[in-house]
């Protein structure tokens, strides 16, 4: 049984949500039914991912051949530690987001669109899972597009609550499409030069080719820029804040935890496993491009977060800064840097999804997410805000939370190469995080509720604590972000294996 499962788990983890989504769309209109199906499928998918992680934790690599056609001709799913970790993050985020979604979606979306939401959600999840699992470059493009198209729709569904969601989705659509196009152009160049799409095979053939093929250099440039757009790497980040801020709460939870991180995964996969650091854009060049852009992104994102007035947008901007941290570790191109990035990525997924769930709980109770309308909300929603505070501490990087170990490893990695200035920037940006988190804490805990609210028309019910079904996933994420700050075996152990294998591949 276990062996059969091990044999098919790499496919099941993706196919389950991918096939369920259209079935749901065809056969069920009842939102609750669709939700229950999606939750069940997500749970199964999560279990598969956990199983795969356990199987690969000794450094083993699982290979699944679709239809029995062996690679390089057939499509191969290849699960190593890095893929397994990403599968776990995506499936876990999807599960938590769905747990959270039922009441939140019921409140935020009109009844007619609720089942569509869950269908898009499942499609988006399966797309992201597929990117993490596949070892075929074109297949990766397909999954990237599945996830992106679903994400545009998810964001646009926020339009019933706030019309700005529509223009945000439109912007994202334009940018995402450019990114995807760039990516696929790069993949075609690669295919034209090597005649293969299997990534392992690609890497072998690339390095057998005589050096100096212009089209291959162009391929790398297109792929890097295309993926940078999906990551929202500075200066290509402009689509992200509004997209996260105006999407339905449950969609923001999932997207912020999983979407950009999968794009980072894809970038790392191409840079280290396919091209290798000795290729056209690698080594020094990559260092010179990624490190500064990542740092500028960290600083600009944090500044924007400090000055933002919309609670959800504060943390959307913070995501840009946090993605900068992850890119920084990758830009260091060292074993320590990669390890730090993946630990950071893991912990950030937990902390950020908890934060957006807390904000979703608030959005459940009141329409406005402006900071000035959050005054004194901790009195009405103590459990929500307590979990928010825990997650925010992890975001800042307070000791004994997941965020601390990520930042510590990152600073250590920077110092290992003598970049003490980078370490200083990391510390400074963490202090900026204190500032923007503090603005929310101050509003929620220290400010008295404004008179305007009291004088507001009676139509708005008094604020109360969010329902249990929303608090449960919120607290799971918040407590896990503390748990993994103390017991670091899973994230650090996985990241060590990833860094080792990438370093071996990158040489």
């Amino acid at each position: 049984m276990s062996e059969t499962l091990a044999l098919h788990a790499p496919a099941l983890v993706i196919l389950l949500p991918l096939l369920t989504a259209p079935l749901c769309f065809l056969f069920s209109r009842a939102a609750n039914g669709v939700w229950a199906t999606a939750l069940l499928v997500s749970l199964l998918s999560f279990l598969c991912a956990a199983f795969l992680l356990e199987k690969t934790f000794d450094g083993r690599v699982l290979s699944y051949h679709f239809g029995g056609f062996p690679p390089p001709l057939g499509i191969e799913y290849r699960i190593d530690m890095m893929s397994a970790l990403m599968l776990l993050i995506v499936a876990g985020a999807s599960l938590l987001g769905l747990l959270f979604a039922r009441r939140s979606v019921a409140r935020e979306l009109p009844a007619a669109r609720q089942s569509a939401f869950y269908v898009c959600y499942l499609l988006c999840a399966s797309g992201l899972l597929g990117v993490a699992a596949t070892n075929d470059a074109f297949n990766m493009f397909v999954f990237l597009e599945i996830s992106s198209l679903a994400a545009y729709a998810l964001i646009a569904l926020g339009g019933d609550r706030d019309r700005r969601a529509l223009s945000a989705a439109y912007n994202y659509l334009i940018m995402g499409t450019i990114g995807a196009t760039f990516f696929v152009i790069g993949v075609f160049f690669l295919y034209a030069a090597t005649g293969t799409l299997n990534m392992t095979d690609l890497a072998d053939r690339l390095h057998a080719l005589p050096v100096g093929s212009r089209s291959l250099y162009a391929a790398e440039a297109f792929i890097i820029v295309g993926l940078a757009l999906k990551i929202a790497l500075f200066p290509l980040h402009v689509w992200l804040p509004n997209a996260y801020a105006f999407a339905p709460s449950a969609a923001t939870v999932f997207l912020s935890a999983a979407a950009a991180k999968v794009a980072i995964y894809a970038l790392v996969r191409f840079l280290f496993s396919v091209f290798g650091l000795d290729f056209a854009i690698g080594g020094e060049t990559l260092n010179a491009v990624i490190l500064p852009t990542a740092m500028i992104g960290m600083i600009i994102g944090s500044f924007s977060a400090i000055f933002a007035r919309h609670a959800k947008r504060i943390f959307a901007y913070s995501s840009i800064a946090q993605l900068g941290y992850m890119m920084l570790g990758i830009g260091l191109e060292s074993r320590e840097g990669l390890e730090a990035s993946f630990v950071y990525l893991f912990n950030h997924a937990l902390a950020k999804s908890a934060i957006f769930m807390a904000l979703g709980c608030i959005a459940y109770q009141q329409a406005s997410m402006k900071l000035s309308d959050l005054h004194g909300i901790a009195r009405d929603m103590p459990w929500t805000m307590a979990a928010f505070t825990i997650a925010a501490l992890s975001l800042i990087g307070a000791p004994l939370t997941g965020g601390f170990i990520g930042k510590w490893l990152l600073m250590d990695a920077a110092l290992a190469q003598g970049f003490w200035l980078i370490a200083l920037v990391i510390a400074a940006v963490s202090l900026m995080a204190v500032l923007y988190v503090w603005r929310v804490i101050e509003a929620a805990y220290l400010k008295a509720p404004t008179g305007r609210r009291r004088g507001a028309p009676r139509a708005e019910a008094p604020r109360r604590e969010a329902p249990f079904s929303m608090l449960l996933p919120l607290w799971i994420a918040a407590l896990l972000s503390v748990y993994f700050g103390v017991d670091t075996r899973l994230p650090v152990g996985a990241a060590e294996i990833i860094a080792d294998s990438l370093e071996a591949a990158g040489q």
């Binding site: 223009s167 439109y170 912007n171 334009i174 940018m175 450019i178 990114g179 760039f182 212009r214 250099y217 162009a218 790398e220 440039a221 297109f222 890097i224 820029v225 940078a228 757009l229 200066p235 290509l236 402009v238 689509w239 509004n242 056209a280 854009i281 060049t285 491009v289 390890e339 630990v343 307070a398 000791p399 004994l400 170990i405 510590w408 490893l409 600073m411 250590d412 110092l415 290992a416 003490w420 370490a423 510390a427 670091t488 650090v492 060590e496």
Partner: protein, 564 residues
């Protein structure tokens, strides 16, 4: 290796349980039981350490040896006494803060590596700031923030130092180091802030008088002595410490003499006492380190006793200003006696605890050939006698009668003060018990030889005479209501003014330039908006357009890099 939970972790665990125990006798008994239980654990735990791994780093979350043990013991005693003193308190926020504070300090004592130390170092800051914020109100809030900024700065320095240290040595172990690498300097400064080094000291006098009555007793015990422990562990026999310590013993005296708020007088005198310990660590011989440790031990007891007695007066009278007190010996005779015992201890009267702990430091400074240091320490001792030994009891309980008639301090406060006073005398009379617990063997050292006793008595008598003469002749600086300015005035006022002034002119200039820029931009924008704006030529969304542009720029850059 260690079958039992570390005492600090016990207190931290207890702190989490406190809110769930109903207020009143049940909770206070629980809070008293915690340190007692901790002492039992301390008795049972053998020397040794616990190795663990955190995020791939080898760490030592627990280590017990002679140095840590005696500090643990005194921290537990202090926790017990402070909790007893706070028996009447019904404030969950203060209870939890105090026990997190004490637990974190104890855990920091048993931290065997810099990472663990950093974690508890920060927790100490968080717990202690709660005791300042617990006074509530705007002023307490701002004082707490200022205090927290200093403490966080110390924490960040320690973190940076730990990172550099790991890169230099490949280990995070917290042991003796030398001031030769940047990492050691960062860590040294981090310790220095908490130890109240000169110019880094203002947070003590700013924050301690601002704590709650019971909170300040806690505050006076842990933070600074944790730093003394850390210096003794990390930088023994560092010569710079001798001179830093001497300055610390001297400068607070002048402030203490003219200060009116008695809790602030005590804060200055605390700073001065820390100086003696720092000198002892700087000299670094086994006997001198022993002296520093013993002095920290005795100091925690008599200093908290002083804060307790002044706090008890504050509890009954409502103020701790010298100008508004006096003549209270009639109303609070027991408190007066305890205060005098503490004053005698801090002034190092023979047969009181301060004497037996200070004399090893003095004799080692002489033995090490530091004549000037020795002389300055003597001067400082006279000063201590002056402001803590005489001024505190004199202005509180004697001097001109303020006319206030209040009740004696409550029973639990008297009990706490009584135990502390008993310890002061017991240690002074029978120092061997304390000497036996010190990290290094004391041999046949005795504080009670003719030279020490006579020398000290001469010093005390002459400074008492000087005080009497100055008081009678009216030359003694009278207590006046006022705020005395310390070094923090420079950064809290002068620098801020300068910053505002410069910042203001920069802003004015910036506004002008910005005005022009905006003007030009307005023209450009209106042109652009015609193309990019809603209904414009280039489509409805500027963001998408500009981002596509950026994408193109980035792609050309990437291609440039690829082809170069």
């Amino acid at each position: 290796m260690i079958p039992l939970i570390a005492p600090g972790w016990l207190l931290l665990g207890g702190a989490c349980l406190i809110p769930f125990i109903p207020k009143g006798a049940a909770r206070t008994s629980f809070m008293l039981a915690l340190p007692l239980f901790g002492m039992g654990l301390l008795w049972l735990i053998p020397d040794g350490s616990l190795a663990a791994s955190f995020g791939g780093y080898a760490i030592t979350p627990f280590r017990m040896d002679g140095l840590a043990r005696i500090f643990c013991l005194i921290f537990l005693i202090a926790t017990f006494l402070s909790a007893l003193y706070a028996w009447h308190l019904r404030d969950s926020f203060q209870h939890v803060s105090a026990f997190i504070y004490a637990g974190a300090a104890l855990s920091a004592l048993t931290a065997g590596d810099l990472l663990t130390l950093f974690v508890f170092w920060e927790l100490v800051s968080l717990g202690s700031v709660g005791l300042i914020w617990a006074r509530r109100g705007e002023g307490a809030w701002h004082t707490g923030l200022r205090y927290l900024i200093w403490q966080m700065a110390s924490g960040l320095l320690l973190l940076g130092g730990a990172l550099f240290f790991f890169r230099e040595t490949g280990s995070l172990a917290f042991d003796a180091m030398t001031l030769q690498s940047p990492s050691a300097w960062l860590i040294f400064l981090a310790f220095g802030i908490k130890a109240g080094f000169p110019l880094l000291h203002n947070w003590i006098q700013d924050a301690y008088p601002a704590g709650t009555i019971t909170g300040t007793v806690f505050l006076s015990c842990f933070t600074t002595k944790l730093a003394i422990y850390a210096l003794a562990r990390g930088f023994p026999a560092t010569e710079a410490l001798i001179y830093i310590g001497v300055i610390m013993t001297i400068f607070p005296i002048f402030y203490a003499v003219i200060e009116n708020d008695l809790r602030r007088v005590l804060s200055y005198s605390l700073n001065n006492q820390l100086g003696f310990m720092v000198v002892g660590i700087g000299i670094g011989t086994p006997l001198a380190i022993n002296g520093a440790v013993a002095h920290a031990f005795c100091h925690i007891i008599y200093k908290s006793l002083l804060f307790m007695s002044v706090g008890a007066v504050m509890y009954r009278v409502g103020t701790a200003k010298a100008t508004e007190l006096g003549g209270l010996y009639r109303s609070m005779p027991l408190t007066m006696i305890f205060c005098v015992i503490a004053a005698a201890s801090i002034s190092a009267f023979p047969l009181f605890s301060g004497f037996i702990s200070k004399s090893p430091i003095l004799s080692e400074s002489l033995g090490g050939g530091y004549w000037v240091v020795w002389f300055l320490l003597l001067f400082a001792s006279a000063g201590v006698f002056h402001h803590s030994g005489i001024k505190i009891p004199y202005f509180t309980f004697f001097a001109h009668d303020s006319g206030r008639r209040v009740r004696e301090a409550p029973m639990h406060m008297l009990l706490a003060m009584g135990i502390a006073a008993f310890l002061c005398v017991a240690i002074g009379v029978y120092p061997q018990a304390l000497y036996a617990m010190l990290p290094f063997p004391m041999g046949d050292y005795t504080a009670y030889d003719a030279a020490h006793v006579i020398g000290q008595l001469e010093l005390l008598i002459f400074s008492a005479l000087a005080f009497g003469f100055l008081m009678l002749s009216g030359l003694y600086p009278p207590e006046v209501r006022g705020v005395n300015l310390d070094w923090d005035w420079v950064y809290r006022r002068v620098l801020r003014r300068a910053f505002e002034r410069i910042g203001g002119s920069v802003l004015v200039l910036g506004d002008k330039v910005w005005g022009y820029v905006l003007g030009v931009w307005g023209v450009v924008y209106s042109v652009l908006a015609r193309f990019y704006g809603p209904g414009g030529l280039m489509g409805p969304s500027r963001a998408a357009g500009s981002m596509a542009l950026w994408t193109a720029i980035l792609l050309s850059l990437a291609l440039l890099f690829a082809y170069s």
